[in-house]
Symmetry: C3
Subunit: 101 residues, 3 copies
Amino acid sequence: MWIAWTSLSSREDAEGIARQTVEQGLAACVQLDGPIRSTYRWQGQLEQTEEWRLCFKLLPEQAAALEALVHRLHPYEVPEWLCVEAAQVSEKYLSWARSSG
Amino acid sequence: MWIAWTSLSSREDAEGIARQTVEQGLAACVQLDGPIRSTYRWQGQLEQTEEWRLCFKLLPEQAAALEALVHRLHPYEVPEWLCVEAAQVSEKYLSWARSSG
Amino acid sequence: MWIAWTSLSSREDAEGIARQTVEQGLAACVQLDGPIRSTYRWQGQLEQTEEWRLCFKLLPEQAAALEALVHRLHPYEVPEWLCVEAAQVSEKYLSWARSSG
């Protein structure tokens, strides 16, 4: 399985992405946490923004469609989108992810 | 080293798992955060639950026993359990993890 | 890209590390969350501490200098420092990370 993350400034938008990605069967589980404080550079300026973070648990075969849907729903010009591959997943959790996709 | 995650609805249960896994030498450090909001499908229905998340830092050789203990203590039928392998760990942190196992 | 984590007991110190690492071009983005509750063993005793967590998004070529700066600024004797390699990053996000380094 893979774990993917994005973040955005509106909690309501984040909840919408969580709901729609699970409804469309593109992630087994999406977790929302925040507020977090993000520090980054945008157009040469140091920015500090309050954001909400989404963490997706998905099967590798869902990754391309999930990335596309998140980018369609995400309000940012350049959304954060990183996926990490799990080295180990419990058998039960993997079976559940496969059955809920 | 590996990083593993699970989540559960009771903060008290989460604290118990954190304490017992460290006491039994199965993780170097366990971090609890939350509440988070989880969205997933369970028996065909979309569910949204408030949960607490545990993040374990462990040595690969602790993984099997840690997974077994977490599953014994975890109240869910299908607990989340994903492990990711670190590409890089600082030397000091790795030494400390080895000495505290 | 890589994702790296550390944690520390002072939110103010964490904000300082976030700002300085981005200012010096050693991470594309740093996210601060907390408070979290950390459980670990230190000199034989079980400890439970409130901490703040930093999550860095970086290019692999920034990793060595970022690790060195974080360790210079971090108040702990043995700071947490783990990096994970992303299996997939969106093209736009990667371009942005390269341009903001």
